[in-house]
């Protein structure tokens, strides 16, 4: 009986904790891992992903708008937002307007989108750790 209630409590608490871990992992790259004691992994993600995003901005990449009428732009926008807080900081600073004529424009876009997509993978990894799979 104690095992059942313990399991039930664990199951009930789990969604909230999972949501917190995933939310934090998205918002701050690496935070999900740091929160769960995986310091080496969390630190690497905390440093590497925002740096990758910053390089994308430096290369004159563009942060795409959520434009449903243009599917590729829409998907690019989703990818951009994957990085979490750095995206919002960049938007507040009016960065990521993109210089189409710049030679490095497409490279910048690639860095920006890939940083976000990699953070999605990091969030999934944090989720797996929180579920006890890793």
């Amino acid at each position: 009986m104690a095992t059942k209630s313990t399991t039930a409590e664990r199951a009930g608490a789990e969604p909230g904790r999972l949501a917190l871990v995933c939310g934090l992992a998205w918002l701050i790259p690496g935070a999900g891992h740091l929160l769960q004691g995986r310091r080496q992994k969390g630190t690497v993600f905390l440093l590497a992903l925002p740096l990758m995003f910053a390089i994308g901005l430096w290369l004159d990449g563009r942060l795409f708008p959520l434009e449903p009428s243009d599917p590729l732009v829409f998907l690019g926008a989703i990818a951009n937002r994957g990085i979490g807080l750095p995206y919002f900081v960049a938007r507040m600073m009016d960065a990521g307007l993109g210089t189409v004529t710049a030679a490095s424009y497409e490279y910048g876009n690639t860095f920006l989108m890939t940083a976000g997509l990699l953070n999605f993978l990091v969030v999934l990894d944090a989720f797996d750790i929180a579920k006890g799979r890793k």
Partner: protein, 50 residues
């Protein structure tokens, strides 16, 4: 290109492996693979016009 490959290899290596030595080995192999593949594909595309 190499910088991009470095970041992608770094993140994937750290995601896939727990031991730092294994992470270094896996990341290095992935980086080498990316760079070599990029060069090979670049040369394969060379004959084709823009």
């Amino acid at each position: 290109m190499v910088l991009f490959a470095f970041f992608v290899s770094l993140v994937f290596a750290v995601l896939m492996r727990d031991d730092p030595k294994q992470q270094l080995k896996t990341g290095g192999m992935m980086l080498a693979g990316f760079v070599v593949a990029a060069y090979v594909l670049g040369w394969l595309m060379y004959p084709f016009p823009l």
